[in-house]
């Protein structure tokens, strides 16, 4: 049972292995370049296991000690996990002892596979998801360790390596931007950049994150009438939403988001999972991972 689940899970994690080894290496390398001991990046990879937050934590560790701000920042940067969790409520039911680990290790990429993949009937779902989570987590930890170790041996200067963080976020941003035709997604992205840039200019580089989040939230609540595409009738498909999903389900991530969320609500009633909405999303998300 376990072997079969492993054989089903492993090939799906291969692209993530490549990505995590590279990004993990960059992260380990960056930590080495900033003068941190080996256990810092490896411990952070082990306990935090949220790539972008680990990069952000490098800056936190180099600033003045402020645990409250660090905690709030972790909540805000990882706020997207809340919505992963909401989507996985149905899928993780009855997972027993595996459930805490599946939640603990649910990074973007693991979520993409576990939420989107059609698992064959003869494969145990719990073990499949557990292997996906474990493999992805250990790719990241191994990449981090490798990056730190190799970093010290490199014959060239690593000055400027920290730009990999900007590159990572920018590429995810571009991927989201190019992956959707939805005007709402573009407006949301512009609001994110605009609100943050405005607050950075206004409050300076040490105090702008909380105002940025507050401003963003306020703008989104003000514009809800224009940006909210969720159907008002519970369970019913809104007109504009429905057409986007049908026309461009594979590339419109926002629409797929709704589809998946809805499929999980349906799942609650029918137990049998609905993969139609989720499957096209997987490849999309995986390339983004």
């Amino acid at each position: 049972m376990r072997l079969r689940a492993f054989r089903a899970a492993f090939p799906l994690t291969a692209p993530i292995a490549a990505g995590f080894l590279f990004l993990g290496c960059s992260y380990g390398l960056l930590m080495h370049a900033k003068g941190f001991a080996f256990w810092y990046p490896v411990g952070m990879a082990f306990f935090i296991f949220a790539g972008s937050m680990e990069f952000v934590t490098v800056n936190l560790l180099l600033s003045a000690f402020n645990p409250v701000a660090a905690f709030l920042l972790a909540l805000m940067v990882n706020a997207r996990h809340l919505f992963y969790g909401l989507s996985m409520l149905g899928k993780l039911r009855n997972m027993g002892w595996k459930k805490p680990y599946l939640i603990f290790a649910m990074c973007d990429e693991t979520f993409a596979i576990n939420s989107g993949t059609r698992i064959p009937d003869d494969v145990d779902r719990g073990w499949f998801m557990l292997f996906v989570s474990m493999l992805n987590r250990w790719y990241w930890i191994a990449g981090t360790a490798l990056g730190w170790l190799v970093g010290g041996l490199l014959p060239f200067s690593t000055r400027g390596i920290e730009f990999v963080l900007t590159a990572l976020f920018l590429v995810i941003f571009l991927d989201q931007w190019m992956g959707t035709a939805s005007g709402r997604a573009h407006v949301s992205g512009v609001i994110g950049v605009g609100a943050t840039a405005a607050c950075l200019a206004l409050f300076g580089s040490s105090d702008f994150m909380i105002p940025s989040m507050a401003l963003m939230l306020a703008v989104f609540l003000l514009l809800r009438r224009h940006l909210d595409e969720t159907p008002s009738a519970p369970g019913g498909a809104g007109d504009d939403r429905g057409t986007t999903t049908a026309a461009d389900a594979a590339s419109d991530r926002a629409a797929a988001d709704h589809g998946r969320m809805e499929s999980d609500h349906a799942e609650v009633d029918h137990v049998e999972s609905n993969h139609k909405a989720a499957v096209p999303r997987r490849d999309d998300e995986r390339t983004a991972a």
């Binding site: 960059s26 905690f71 409520l89 603990f104 949301s188 994110g192 994150m209 595409e229």
Partner: protein, 111 residues
Amino acid sequence: MTMTTWQAVATIAVVALGTMLTRFLPFLVFPESKRPPRVVEYLGSVLPYAMTGLLVVYSLKDVSLTSGSHGIPEAIAMLAIVLLHWWKRSMLLSIAGGTVLYMVLVQVVFV
């Protein structure tokens, strides 16, 4: 590093705690399958894009436009990433290409 080791450990611990809270909270708040309020679903659909935008700006917060190299290496590398990603759409190529270009710029060109 300006922190003591214990301050660093505490920082890492609270970051891990905050991260875990975001992962576990939905399962604690909705133990059965209560549908989340509509405003939460709405924010969940728009925030991912905005958060990535925030992270882009956050990662550039210490770039000074008025001193040093005036943010020119950053601008060049970011432009290269946009073009590279527009052309090939390969996550790893765009990240690696942009980072290597930036490293060359700050080590060789804008010294």
